[in-house]
Amino acid sequence: MYKTNKYLVTALLIGLVFHGTSMFFTLESTYDALIHLFFGNHYAESWFEPWNFKWYTGFSVMGYPPLVHQAIALLSFIGGLKFGLFTVGFIGVILFITGVYRFSALLTGNKTVAGYASILAVFSSSFLETFHLFGQLPSIIGVSVLLHALPEIYLWIKTAKYRYLCTSLSLIAVTVTSHHVTPIFGMVFFIFPLIGMTIMDVSREKVGSMKAITFKIFLGTFLKLLKRIISFGLFSLVIIVGSILPYWINSKNNPITQVPIPHGSRDNFLEITSSGLVFFLIPWGVLLILIPYIFYRYFSKRYLFFGLSITLLTILGTGGTTPIPRWILGETAFNILTLDRFTLWASILSLPLFGEFVYRFVNGDLKTLIQTKFGTIYYRLIGGILAGLFIFMTIFTMSLGYFRPSQPQKLKMLPIINFLNQDQHDQWRYMTLGFGDQMAWLSAQTNALSIDGNYHSARRLPELTTRPIERLENSKFKGLEGIGSLQQFLTIPEKYNLKYIFSNDKFYDPILFFSGWQRLQQLENGVQVWEKLNVPPIPAILPKDDVPKWQKILWGTIPFLAVIIAFILNLNLLWFRTLKLIPDYLNFQESYSKFSNRILKVTHLWSIGLLIFVIYGIYNFYIKNYSHHSPENAIMAYYNALDFKEYEKAYELINPQSNLSLAQYMLEISVTDGLMSSYAKLDVIESFVTSQSDSLASVKVNTKWITPLEKIIKTDYKSLVKLNGKWYIQPEDLDLDLPPDQLYSSNQTNYFNQGRRRITTEQTYHEDILKQPVLEILSAKLVKYDNSYALIGEVQNIDNVPADVVLKGTLFNNENKELATYNAKYHIKHKLMPKEVSSFKINFEGIAWSKTQDSIPKTFNPDEFTPVEFDQQPTKFNLHVAGNVSGSDLYKDITLSNLNISSLSIKGKLFNSGLEEITIPQLLISYYDENKNLVWVDHQFIEEGIRQQRQIAFEYFLLNKDRILVISDDLTNCFVNGLPNESISNKLVPTRIINQTHAVLQPISHIEYKFIKIELNSYIGNPN
C-alpha cells in the first residue's frame, strides 16, 4: 500500500510558493540568468543556426549545452522570453526538491527522512544562493536531474534490469544537455560513491550484516558487479560525448586560450572575507554546525565512498585558502573552473544527512538522548537556536542581493532599443558601459550587434582574450586590464565598426571624451549616448565559422529528444513504482535507535569553537570599522566615505568643534568638480601616523586612485584631534577666491547639423551631406625614443566650420611593408574651431601582453601603454586625417594665466574665462629643440576642475628624456579626407606664413629642449 508522502508534498508546495514568488524579484538581477535568457533568445530566433553575430565579433552558441536555453526559447513562443525564463525556474525548483527527495530516500532508505530532507532543501542556503543570487539555471537543472538518475543507476547495478539502465542513461543525457560539467564531475563525486554503496549493499545482502563485510567480500561483490558497472560507464560515456557532440568538437576547434579571469571562489577566504562569505559561509550555512555529524555518518561503512567524496568536495570548495585544491586540480583546471560548484555539491550531498539529523532530533533517538541528558528545556532551546539560525541564513541569503546589489539598478531598455532602430543606428556596432548583466537583456531585444559580450569563454578578439576581463562593460572593476582593453576599442573604433556607446556610468565619460567621442543625447532612462564620427558601417556580409549541417541538426534536436525519451521512460516507471513496487534501496533502512553520545559531544565542542570564531570575527570587524577608534580608523573611514560619496558619514568624522555645519560642508564638497572628486575610485590607501599625542595626531595618507584616464597617487597630511575618547579629523581650508562680478554674459557661436532635412530612409540623401571640413597637416614626424616610435606633428582646421578630427597613422619599413597602425588618442584636441591648431602624437600601441601572458602587472595603471613590438625598423609613415563637422564640445574659454618656469617643472595657473565649469583641464605640451623644431608632444590631465571665472594651479614636470631621434619628417604621404595634404594646402592657404607663431614659443632652460608650447583642452562634464 502506497501512502502519499506528506512531507514531499509540503516541500513542493512551500518550495513553489516561496521560490515561485520571490524569483520575480531576484532572478533578473542575478549574474547569469539574463545570459541564459540571451541564449534562449538566440534559439528562439534561429534554432538550428549556432552562429551568433550579436556578441563579440560573432561566436558559436555551441560553447554551452543547449537544453535550458532551448527550453526558454520554446516557452518564449508562448509568453515571451521572460515567461520562458521563469517557467524554467519553476521546473528547476520542482526538479531540485524531488531530486533531493529521491536521493535522500536512496541514501537513507527512509521516506520520512527523505521528506524532511526535501523540506530542508527548499530553504537550503546553497540552493538559494545558486538560484536567487547566481541564477545558474543549467547548473541547478543539471544537478537535479543527476540526483534523479542516481536511484536508477543504483537499481541497474543491483538488479541488472535493463529498464533501469535505460532510465538512468536517459537521465544522464538530460543532465549533460543542460550542463556539461555536472555529469563529468558528478561521475566522480556522486556516481562512483554510489556504486561503492551499491556494492556494500549487495555484499551485505550476501553476509547478512554491515559489520560482516570484509574487504575480500567487498572485492568479490565488486568483481561480480563489474560487468554492470563497466557497461553503465561505457554507455554513459557514449551518452555524455554523443548527446552534445558538437560542443566537444567546438571546444576542440576553439580551445579556450584565454588569460584566466579571476573568480572569487579561487580567493583565499581568510584574506578576502567577502569571497569567504559568498563562496563558503553562505552555501554551507547551518550545515557548518553539523559537519561533525555529517562526516561521522559519511565515514560509516556503508557510506564510506560518499565520505571520501564529500571530503574532497569540501576541500576543493575552499578555493585558494589552502594550496590543496590547486594541487589536486592542477594549475590549468584550477584557473578555469569556478570552485563554488564543489561547495554546492558538498552541501547537496549533506542534505540527506541533514534530513536524517533533523528527523532524529525531532522525533528520534537524538531527542531522547538530549532530553534525558540535558533536560527538556535545553532541548527546546537548542532546537530554537538551530531553527533560528536556519531561518536567519535563509533570509540573509535571500536579502543579500537587496542589500549588496550585484547589478546596477534595473534599466528600461525600450529607449535604447528605439534608438537603435531609428535612423539606421543598428548599422553600426554598439557597446554598453555600466549595464552589468543587463546588457544581455538588451542584446536579446535588439538586432544591433555589440562589440562586447557576456559569455567570456566565447571571446575571440585578441584584445579581449589576452586580458582577464569578462566584459568591457564593467571594465572599471577590472583595473588596468579592464580600462586598458577598453581604451583600445575606444581609440580605434573604426576597426570594429563601433559607433555608439550607451553609458550608464559617468565614470567612463572622461575616457570617452579624450579618446575623441562626443555626446549625442541622453535617453529617457538616463543613459547617455556617445557617438564617434568617421566610423564606417558594418559590412553587409560578416565572416562566420560554419559547422556541418549534421552538427546543427544534432544540436537542435538531441536535447529535446533526450527530455522526451527520459520523460516517457521515467513516467512509465513512476506509475509502476507508485502502484506496486517498493524499490530495492528502501530495504536498507536504519532504525535510528541509539544516537552516538560521543558525536553529540563533538558537535557541542565544534559548535562552541564555531561560536568563538564568529565572535572573534565580529569583534575584529568592529575594531576595524569603528571609525573613531584610532587615527588610522578615522582616516580610513573618512576616505571610504568620500569614495562612496557618503558625505554625511564623512562629516561625522570632522571635528565637531570646528564650527563647520553639515550644510557648509556639503556646499564645499559639492562645488568641487574634477577628475579627482568626480571620477576617481579609491584603490589603495595607506596611512602612517607621523606623530601622535594624547589628543593630537598627524597622519600622512598615501592614496592611489583609479580614474578612467590615469592613476593618481596622492599624499595628504591630515591633522586629527581626540575629543571624549573619539578621534576626529580637522577640516581643510577652503579656496576663498571671489570673482569680481555676480552676473556674467558672453556670446558664442553655436552649430547645429540637422542631418536629413526630410524624413526619409534614403541612405545618402546627397544634398544633406555636409562637406567634410578641410584640415591641413602643418608638420608630421616619425620619431623614436626608448625603442618605441611615435608620430608627432600639428594639424590645423583650415575650413570655416568646426571639425572633429580623426588621425590615423601607419608605419612602414624600407620595403613599404606595413608595420603598425593606430589612431591619436589623448594627445590631440579632437575638436577644432575654424583655423585652430592642435599638436598631436600617435603612439603605436600593441595588444597588451599578447606575448608574455604571465607578465601581467599586478598593479593598476589605466595609462599603461604597451608599445608595438617591431621586428623591422619603421622608416616611413603615412597619416590620414579625416574631418567631420561637429557642433559639440567646442568650449575654448580656458586660458593660461600664470607661469613660473624652473629647470625641472612648470608651475602655472589656468583661468576659466567662460561660463561652463571645466571638469577636466588638459595640457598639451610640445617640446622644441634649439632650432624650434618640434620633437615631442606630451600631455597632462589636471586633477581639479575649474569653476567659472576662477583659477587653479598646476605643476607640470618637464620630461627628462634622452634626445629624441627624428626618423622622417616627410609629408608626402599625408592625406586629408583622402586627398593629398600638399595640394589642399596649396589650394586653400597658398600664402601660408610658415612657423608664424614660433616667435611666441616659451623658452625653457632644459638640456635637450629649448622651447615648449602649451595648448589647452578641456572636458565639460555637465554642459549647461
Binding site: D893, S897, L899, S913
Partner: protein, 405 residues
C-alpha cells in the same frame, strides 16, 4: 610531291567546311528574323518575329545592361512572336538576343532609344560650400531623364542658371555622354549661390552653394579693463578689429584667434577667442603683482595683429605680519588695495618654511576679508628654530631663525 600533298589538304578542308555550312544553312532556313527594325523608342510595344517552318518552339534569350531574361514564344500562323516585357522595353540601350536552338546560333541586337521628353532632371552639385575668391568651384552635373529614368540622347540642351546676389547667369550646355555639367566658380564675395537647371522646358528644383570667406587678413587688437591695478581679480578683455579676408568678407563666425601675452619675466601667457561678426573677444584675469604685458594675436599661418602693451600697477606696496606668542599663528594683513580698501578675497599668500636652509614645506592660502592666517601644527613643525618666507602680491618677506614653541 610535297606540293601535291598540300593541295590535297586544302581541298580536304574546303570539303569539310562545305559540309558544315550546308548543314547550318539547313537549320537557319527553319527560323528567320522577320522584324526589320533595329531602333525602338522606350516603352513602345516591341516585338520580335521569326518565321518558323516546323513545330519547334525555341526560347529567346534577351540581355540588356540591366539584366537577362528568357522569353517563351507565341506561334501564330507559322510566325514565332516574342513580346518584350516592360522591364526590357522601358530601358534604353542595346539589347542583344539569341534564339536558343540546339545546334546553331541565331543572334542579333537592337537599340532602344529614350523618349525625348524630360521627366526629371537628375542633378548633383558639390561641394556644397566653397571659398570666395574665384579659385574654388562647385560642379553641377545634370542628367535629363525620361519617364523611365533613361538618360536622354546626347546633344540635348540643358540650361544652367545661377544667381549670386543680383547677378543672374544662364548658360546653355548640350549633353555629352548623356550628361551636362558646369563648374561654378566662387565670386569674390561670400554669400549664397542659388542654382537651377532647365531642359526641354522642364525645370529642376533649387540648389544652393555657400560661398564662405577666404583666409583672413591682418587685423588690429584693442583691450578693455575696469582699472589698471594688478589685483589678481578683475578681468581684462581683448578685442580684435573686424577680421576680414582679402575681398572684404568678414571671416566666418567661430574663427579661432589666439592671443599671446609676453610678461616681464619672459613667460608667455595665452588666451583665445572665437570671432562673432569678425570680432574675437578674449579674456584674461589681472595679474596679482606689478607687470607689463606685450600682447599679440595670431590666426596661425594666416594673419596676425599689431602689438599691444599694457601695464598693471601694484595694489599694495607693503603688508603687515603679526605672530602669536609661540610664533605658531601667523597673521598676514590687513592686505590693503589701491584705495586702502581690503583686498578682495582670494589673493594668494604663500608661506615657505625652511629649516637649516632646506625647504620643509610651502603652505598656500587665499586671503579672506583682507587677512590670511596660518597655523603651524606642532606635530609637523616640532619646537625648533625655523626660517619663514612669506610671499603675497609679488612682495616677499623673510623671517630668519624664528623659534617656535
Amino acid at each position: 610531291m610535297k606540293i601535291k600533298f598540300t593541295y590535297l589538304f586544302i581541298f580536304g578542308l574546303l570539303f569539310i567546311s562545305a559540309i558544315n555550312s550546308f548543314k547550318k544553312s539547313d537549320n537557319i532556313d527553319n527560323f528567320q528574323l522577320l522584324t526589320t527594325e533595329t531602333e525602338f523608342v522606350a516603352d513602345t510595344k516591341i516585338e520580335l518575329n521569326f518565321s518558323s517552318i516546323n513545330e519547334k518552339l525555341p526560347k529567346l534569350y534577351l540581355s540588356n545592361s540591366y539584366g537577362t531574361t528568357i522569353l517563351k514564344p507565341n506561334l501564330l500562323n507559322g510566325v514565332l512572336n516574342f513580346q518584350l516585357p516592360e522591364s526590357i522595353s522601358k530601358k534604353t540601350g542595346i539589347v542583344t538576343w539569341k534564339l536558343l536552338l540546339d545546334t546553331v546560333k541565331l543572334t542579333g541586337s537592337f537599340n532602344i532609344n529614350p523618349k525625348q521628353e524630360v521627366s526629371t532632371l537628375e542633378t548633383y552639385i558639390g561641394p556644397p560650400s566653397i571659398v570666395a575668391g574665384g579659385t574654388d568651384f562647385s560642379m553641377i552635373v545634370i542628367i535629363p531623364t525620361d519617364l523611365f529614368d533613361n538618360p536622354l540622347l546626347d546633344n540635348t540642351e540643358v540650361n544652367v542658371r545661377h544667381l549670386f546676389l543680383k547677378d543672374l547667369s544662364n548658360k546653355a550646355h548640350f549633353t555629352k555622354n548623356r550628361f551636362a555639367y558646369q563648374n561654378i566658380y566662387s565670386p569674390a564675395l561670400s554669400g549664397r549661390i542659388l542654382v537651377s537647371s532647365e531642359s526641354l522646358n522642364k525645370n529642376s528644383k533649387e540648389y544652393d552653394v555657400n560661398v564662405l570667406p577666404a583666409i583672413p587678413n591682418d587685423f588690429t587688437i584693442s583691450y578693455k579693463r575696469n582699472h589698471a591695478f594688478a589685483d589678481g581679480n578683475q578681468v581684462t578683455s581683448f578685442f580684435t578689429s573686424t577680421i576680414k579676408d582679402q575681398y572684404g568678407n568678414i571671416v566666418s563666425d567661430g574663427t579661432y584667434v589666439e592671443y599671446f601675452i609676453r610678461t616681464d619675466s619672459n613667460v608667455i601667457l595665452k588666451t583665445s577667442g572665437t570671432t562673432i561678426r569678425g570680432v574675437a573677444t578674449a579674456k584674461m584675469i589681472h595679474p596679482d603683482h606689478e607687470e607689463n604685458w606685450i600682447v599679440k594675436a595670431f590666426i596661425e599661418g594666416m594673419a596676425e595683429s599689431n602689438v599691444l602693451e599694457l601695464m598693471y600697477e601694484p595694489v599694495i606696496s607693503d603688508f603687515e605680519i603679526s605672530f602669536s606668542e609661540n610664533k605658531r599663528i601667523i597673521t598676514i594683513g590687513p592686505l590693503k588695495s589701491f584705495m586702502s580698501q581690503l583686498i578682495p578675497d582670494g589673493i594668494e599668500v604663500k608661506i615657505s618654511i625652511y629649516q637649516n636652509d632646506s625647504k620643509m614645506s610651502t603652505i598656500t592660502k587665499s586671503s579672506f576679508e583682507g587677512f590670511a592666517i596660518f597655523k603651524l601644527n606642532a606635530n609637523t613643525f616640532p619646537n625648533d628654530t625655523y626660517t619663514l618666507k612669506i610671499e603675497a602680491v609679488g612682495i616677499e618677506k623673510t623671517f630668519r631663525n624664528l623659534k617656535l614653541w
